[in-house]
Amino acid sequence: MKLGRIWNSLATPKNIPKVFSIILGLVLLAGFIVPLTYNDHQLYPRPTPQLQISEKDPLAPYNRGGIPLEEPGIVKAQYPQFAPSEGMVTGYLSPIAIGVSNTTLYFGTSIYSSPGGLIDEILYYSRGFDTILESSILMMAFVIASWVALHFTMRRREE
């Protein structure tokens, strides 16, 4: 009798997000007692978060060093044989980015740092396929939203 009621409530779509979040919450709580092991020979290394900030580096915390096309920065790929020019453009700054980074200490955490600023080479070079997929997820979301908005699938006004 009781079990039947539980199954019935599971068959109601409205209850499902609650059930899901309760299960997720319990698992996340259980995660606190799992011993954490951290591998510090990381695939995509970067300095300690506060290190560059204490050094008053305007690109902190994203400075990976390196001179564009001459000297590779600190980028470590899983398969270096598939990424022969690894780290070569990671230090590139566009003229605007150079201008901004000379005036403020917070360039690395500002919005300028992404487009045409600091090139995240991991995103665009060694893990480029992920970037394509991420943008296609975004594009599909826009396709769906704009289709629904254009076609008024719900009757919004009484006519």
């Binding site: 899901f20 698992v27 020979h41 629904v148 719900m154």
Partner: protein
């Protein structure tokens, strides 16, 4: 455990930088099945439902309009391609992205219908899919933190730790939420109660294939029967 033990013969890799897709007989078969099914769906037309009206002898036919048909076909093809990609990818983060894409597109396929019940359950499914991104990406991220790699070809050789087990439970909850398996099936089951069958079937097929692939990935990460 070896990749070949799980997937049959190891046929080769497709390197795309750090993301290395790999082919085994098992993966390749699922990849091919997803692609063939997508091709069939791309060529097919929708079914139309006929409903009897209560109290009279009339009947009502529910058809899918041309606009709706086009967007659904497009999203179904994207869904099929994402499923096919998830089958052969050899990178954990790449896999989670494919699953996420499938989740979003699944909502889109039913977002165009006019039945209020279906839209309601699609909304609930969307909420779950949003919540599920946390354990999905969190699981992949914590596997990267604890092993230092997310390439499946490397994870095969790393001995399992307690935290890897926990991360894979997180990952599984994420996939379960995105693909709507039991006990979260109710929202997805309600989403099928509408016209336009072949496009709805790809929702089903994608979750089935993704679950099979997730189990394979969890076996690769956790090696429950010894290395």
């Amino acid at each position: 455990m070896d990749l070949a033990t799980l997937g049959g013969q190891f046929l080769g890799t497709i390197p795309l930088g750090d993301i290395v897709l790999y082919l085994t007989t098992f993966n390749l078969f699922m990849f091919g099945a997803a692609l063939v099914f997508t091709a069939i769906i791309a060529m097919s037309r929708t079914e139309s439902q006929v409903e009897a009206e209560f109290g009279t002898l009339n009947e009502r036919e529910k058809k899918v309009s041309k606009d709706e048909f086009k967007i659904r076909r497009f999203l179904s093809i994207v869904c099929g391609l994402a499923t096919a990609g998830a089958m052969i990818t050899g990178d954990l983060f790449n896999f989670t992205l494919f699953v996420c894409l499938i989740g979003i597109v699944n909502i889109g396929i039913v977002a165009a219908v006019k039945e209020v019940d279906v839209l309601d359950s699609a909304f609930q499914y969307g909420i779950i899919a949003m919540i599920a991104t946390l354990p999905l990406f969190g699981g992949a991220a914590s596997i990267l933190a604890t092993t230092g790699t997310i390439s499946l070809l490397e994870l095969v050789n790393i001995p399992t730790s307690a935290f890897m087990l926990f991360s894979s439970i997180l990952l599984f909850i994420g996939v379960a939420g995105e693909s709507g398996v039991a006990p979260f099936f109710a929202t997805k089951a309600e989403m099928f109660r509408t016209a336009g069958s072949p496009f709805l079937v790809i929702i089903h097929l994608s979750s089935l294939l993704v679950i099979v692939r997730t189990i394979e990935i969890l076996l690769i990460i956790n090696k429950p029967f010894g290395v």
